[in-house]
Symmetry: C2
Subunit: 104 residues, 2 copies
């Protein structure tokens, strides 16, 4: 775990919002599921396009944000067809909260 990279990832309004939105995907991305194939249950995963629409920033920006957050450990992703679904890496985030409590 690289705390500096985590904090950098969290140092941006949009990225912080994305992380919060992904806590309640079905609430914040209601139309999600339209293209989510039934045979897949990537619980909580939201595709890039839906996140972009909600965040109101360019496609390239949202893509690199998500990549950055994933590299920091905050998110995980899976590709399904032409969609990439991102969701929170709750295990990592839990460790992070522990780190925060004990080390900060």
């Amino acid at each position: 775990m690289e705390p500096i990279n985590v904090f950098k990832a969290l140092s941006n309004e949009t990225r912080l919002k994305i992380l919060e939105w992904l806590k309640e995907p079905e609430k914040n991305f209601p139309k999600q599921g339209a293209h989510l194939p039934k045979d897949v249950s990537y619980k909580g995963g939201v595709c890039v396009g839906d996140i972009q629409e909600k965040a109101q920033i360019s496609q390239s920006t949202v893509s690199s944000y998500l990549n950055m957050m994933q590299k920091a450990g905050l998110l995980e992703s899976i590709r399904h067809g032409q969609w990439t679904y991102y969701r929170r890496n709750e295990e990592f985030i839990q460790e992070l909260a522990k780190y925060f409590k004990t080390e900060i």
Copy 2:
């Protein structure tokens, strides 16, 4: 509380170290107290010069770092004579850990 500013303040190796050093001031700044007047008991406060020496960065940089961390809420300071003593704002940091646990 402005989480973004907190995360920005934490997004730097030196500032992160300072925050950690200040968890155990008497251990990390052993000579501290030489100029700390007896009649003052600013528990845990360390003066700018001592922090600068330990961090090995310029005086102006350490001063603005400390100011930034204080504005973010992480530190608090008190002036005593020609010295400014900085220490952790534990109350704020505790709230922060709570915020982190519940909001992140």
